[in-house]
Symmetry: C2
Subunit: 183 residues, 2 copies
């Protein structure tokens, strides 16, 4: 059985592809423009896109949506992390937290899977905090300012940690375990 | 002929209703949950929602989408102004501009109209800048920190100026003129 990951982000694809290979499962990238709705819930956004992807492709397919949620900013930027990254950027987020005592944040990822008979959502959370400055060039997006709990290295400095700990890795592992039993 | 404005925002509805009354046109609020897609283009967001509204209602209907676009922040928050307002708020935007020399910004509004035969988009822009602090309690959203060009009063202080100058007023006036000729 071949699975499809609908994403235009090569970084996300390679992170998940690696996990599939470890489990001897075949994964292909589907580079298709899908509608993303506006919602405070990334579950809802991902599920909506997965349904559209399945309608277009007719084969087992999943999509992922993720965001960084900063506690003292009422979960900003959340579902709109990408837009914030390309506008205010790392610098803007650091500025917003300049005088914040609480720097806690979490990365959340959701994978929504859909095939002819089944539909399921998998969630991954990685708790941590926002560093005082950007460090490291690994990963993408907000990785250089995210410190996972219990580490003093950002995801930008320690890409290996990211690949084992991250929200996306956790969601992908749940998907893979489930596919082995139900796929 | 009765027209429908699909919005859940009573502030927006009353702003536009006033213009319709001045033109002796009948307007009713349609308080229906519509999908808003994610896009950098508010035209695309509004048009998508207008099509959905027309499919549901089957009567002449329009939707409005608007945002504040801050030049030195690469047009942040733009289409996601509402989410930014409810998370980082006025305070967050002021913080982001703390050391900015360029405080220029624009409010943009788009009205997308749809009936059985026609579909049309109207745009309104109001140029100005971001004040150094929030002033006034009128309007809603980012009004208290927006200074329209040539004025030293924010939209929060001078709601009358808003009702004649604003992006939404301009888009609504275009819609009304067009409806008088084509509606």
């Amino acid at each position: 059985m071949k699975y499809y990951f609908a994403t235009s982000n090569p970084g996300k694809f390679s992170e998940v592809k690696e996990k599939f290979e470890e489990a001897w499962l075949e994964l292909e990238q589907l580079n298709e423009e899908l509608t993303e709705i506006q919602s405070d819930s990334i579950e809802e956004i991902a599920l909506n896109s997965a349904r559209e992807a399945y309608e277009k492709l007719g084969k087992p397919v999943f999509v992922e949506d993720a965001g960084i949620f900063i506690s003292s900013l009422k979960d900003f930027p959340g579902p709109y992390s990408k837009h914030s990254f390309y506008t205010i950027g790392l610098e803007g987020v650091l500025k917003l937290l300049e005088s914040a005592e609480d720097r806690s944040a979490r990365f959340q990822a959701v994978i929504a899977y859909r095939d002819s008979a089944k539909e399921k959502v998998f969630k991954g959370v990685c708790r941590g905090s926002i560093a005082h400055e950007a460090r490291g060039r690994g990963g993408f997006g907000f990785d250089p300012i995210f410190l996972p709990e219990g580490s003093d290295k950002t995801f930008g400095e320690d890409v290996k940690a990211k690949s084992s700990l991250s929200h996306r890795a956790l969601a992908a592992e749940q998907l893979i375990n489930w596919l082995k039993q139900n796929g």
